[in-house]
Amino acid sequence: MSHRLASGGRLDRTRRLRFTFDGRSYVGHAGDTLASALMANGVRLVGRSFKYHRPRGILTAGPDEPSALVELRAGARREANMPMPVVELFDGLEAQSQNRWPSLAFDILSVNSLLSRFLPAGFYYKTFMWPAAFWEKVYEPLIRRSAGLGWAAKEADPDHYETRHAHCDVLVAGSGAAGLAAARIAAEAGARVILCEQDFELGGGLLLDPALEDWRAATVAALARQSEVTLLPRTTVFGYYDSNVLGAVERVADHLAEPPEHQPRQRYWTIRAREVVLATGAHERLIAFPGNDRPGVVLAGAALSYLRRFAVAPGKRAVVFTNNDEAYDTALALREAGVEIAAIADVRPAAVRADEARRAGIDVRSGSVVTGVGGGRDVERVTVARRNGADGESLAADLLCVSGGHSPAIELASQSRTPLDWSDAIAGFVPGQPVQRQRSAGAARGIFGVAEAASDGATAGRAAVAALGLGKTEAIALPPAVARAGTPSEPFWEVKASGKAFVDLQHDVTTEDIRLAHREGYAHIEHAKRYTTHAMATDQGKTGGLVGAAVLAEARGESIAAVGMPTYRPYASPVSFGVIAGHAVGKNFAPVRRTALHAWHVRHGARFMEAGMWMRPAYYPQPGEEKDAWLSVLREARAVRRAVGICDVSTLGKIDVQGKDAGVFLDRLYTNTFSTLPIGRARYGLMLREDGIVFDDGTTSRLADDHFFMTTTTANAARVLEHMEYHAQTVWPELDVQFCAVTDHWASMSAAGPKARLALAKAVQGLDLANAAFPFMAVGDAQVAGCPVRVFRISFSGELAYEVATPAGFAEPVWEAIMAAGAEHGITPYGVEALGLLRIEKGHVAGAELGGHTTARDLGLERMLKKNGDYVGRVLAGRPGLVAPERPRLVGLRPVDPKARLRAGSHLVAAVGDGQSLGWVTSAMPSVELDCWIGLGMLSGGEAWHDKRLFAAFPLYDEYVEVAVTHPHHVDHENARVRA
């Protein structure tokens, strides 16, 4: 049965689009939405409601839609809960109805509807409590399964999304008469204008009036000609944020089966607007009456849209139920399209247009309402009665057009913190005095009628131009005002008759639910909303929100203005995760930072690990080691202890510090002194936070009297720089100090091991590496392979070691040269794992020990706290809690059974089964020197435990390992090797 009109509409009838709904094939046209195409095909039952599983049809013709929600597409592109009226038809579209089983027509859970008297608002708060264990096991799974609407896709999204940052003078949201006029005025004044329209065609209400097509087309064309105007159809402004920033989503390819190559599916616009015009129109309201949720009930404005724009007759014989004049336009248009008008029920006792309609032969029943809807799954009969319920008559009709008036679309205005004023004239909230640089225009502030809206839009455009100081504005052509006698609409919300009257069609909230909430004390609008879930569905109550508030107001005996609306929040329409996430997902979640030697590591089979944004080689598996990473790690560490290894340490933060006061500055940042450091020497430094907790450590060298080179840990590089900037710029601005990060300019590599000198001496030119000439903590410039290098004799591994820094572009030749020079000594590249092992053997602290809780004393570094002079953290480090003797202190740990494994994250307890933690294992690794696992830990009592035994408890694995407590230096207690 086709409901497609023979002519008219904004369709391209030459383009036939095939699509399926619940597996059945249908045909529509270009210009159709899924809703209009199904309607044209006579499909009315399109879904089931949330709670009672009642049959649902198409209520609206736009994003206000509460009930006609479908699953769209299939597989990885499946999307749940798509409102049919915003789904543009494309060839091959697949849609499924939702929330029904086994089928839409025979849905088992529609028994909920019969049980509905037991399921009033909030019923679950009152029951399901006994027996207690049944909640998770029985009740909740049942609730969870029956709740929810559609199924989301289960796979990764194959499409991609784009972000766009925009700036403009004037953002206009909405392209109806008001929006077009505002945009045109601003554009003519030379402003940079962005016009966003959520629909795929520009024009809003203009699209429904062929008489205005010329003005619409001419205005759009004039805008399109302006180079500073960006027209964005299919773009919903979803939120209004601080500083006049708005978010919008452009549906670039949702009207296609798949996005074209290189095109995003959707685009997320962040729009920074100097001025904003909100011309977002109005939402037509439903009226609460029994059966107002049944398929075949359509809002009057939507019906007009289906007729005029989509050339569909939404029924054959209609009843129109209204409290206002506009619905008469629908009635007349229906009749013109061949739809019989059974009657118009107008709640008003009299209306000019009622008389006109009567004269045209329509049965208008003034002072009348709809008290019920009969039929099986959709509208077959409509009962019309006097307002007091008398003279009820059941009329045969398959279409019931309803209009409860219009509520301005104030979502965005309200989000921008504009207060809402009640307007008696339109029985709705309108935006009050704006707070941000914004104004509403047209239906969005209760100015209805095309000419009026256009002229209001022009006024808003002029105001925006004036606020921008752009000077004079041109006059533009506006649609002619049509003088027409009318009758004010009468606020009307609910027909009280027996049966469920819905205020929220998606969440199945009835007028009785609202009254129940009120009776139980949930009488504040926000309580009533939460108790009943009214206006909490995907449509956020666009068609019924105010109706619910009105029912509540009546129950409270107060005005709707006093009751108010629940807070408006983003999103004006739901927004997909993907579009806001944009490109920064999966492997692009965070940019990858690579050292200059990255390619070398890749070529040599390194396994990488993430360290913040960095990728660092963890180890370099060799043939035969694939099965067990420890083999590689131990081999690498052993090479360092026995011969020589080389490690990329480029990720350490490096900061160049200069200036007359550089030394003083460093003295205040570090707990120890740097102003006394000789030129050509390095020193280990410790930094505290101002609260006395250890912040960072590293070596800093003096290159000249007024020039230092500082290093930080990889993790804290950025924070240390910021810390320095804070102190230099705000605390001690008088100091002559200049510094900047040079982490990326220098690549650095550590050559460590007893043979390090032998290996390096062959590669390094221009520097005598002999112990006497270049002792521990010496710094000097040299060349390797013709490249400039700076050599630091510092060591993290505890071996004789040199850190060789070179400008990053020379990293590979320098590294290769050292590798070549060290080949005869068995030089071995080692990764972060081996580095960790070596430092644990040495008892050097790192991230695991510096976790933001430890003091210098805790780490056994109290000797680094200078006695005199100010430094960051000095005072608060002395608080009693931070110097308490029972604080955990750094110790070494070894399992008593040399075969036993020690795990980081274990706790130290006195006996198996003891719940009292004395400390914990911060780091653990198998040792190459000791042939057993070793660890570092923080232990209350610290050195008092040396040579005593405890248990490392790992109850997560039910493991207890007996450990001996040792000095943290497992290897080379005397620190002789580094000086060798």
């Binding site: 972000t163 700036h167 930072r593 900047c740």
Partner: protein, 202 residues
Amino acid sequence: MPVSAPEPRSPLVQALKPGRHGAVGARQVTLRAYRRSLVQLQARKGRAADLATAVRQGLGLALPPPGRAETSPTLAAIWIQPSAWLLCAPYLAEGDLARSVRAAVGSAGAVVDQTHGKSVLRLSGPTARAVLETGCRIDLHPRAFAPGQAAATPVGHIDCILRQLDNAPSYELIVASTLAEAFVDWLLHAAAAYGCEVLPPD
């Protein structure tokens, strides 16, 4: 005998393969890596005026005010921080730029070589602005940003120094070398809708 330094390797040479990326069409942009010497110059406390004079006399360039870049035939100076500039010149020999700047400014400024720490790119073409707008949050419209202007600002989650060179428009993008590969990954993706021709490095 000291051997002479090899050509320094730029991470972009690896990452940026010459050729066409993304869509084919008339709206494409061009992208090219540049080998540059870079030096960060910072005035010593209270010596900003001396520094400006020294640079003008020694390097023939006026140090620009905030938000701007100044160029001479051989050198560009970009304001990056109060009393701090990034100087940028064609790469000649290692350390040369830093040495000559140091000689020119004497005790008036701190000079730090950043040649290897930052990578220089140029994005050019009528749609270059549209490409950047997918990740750049400042207003690049000609009314707001023009040749001679420069800004430090993140582009696609990576901090960047951005300078407009001409009205093609062409933009110079300076990013940390360790993030350069990630940056061009992002940039090529951003440009794919228009198409991007990667030219061999300069």
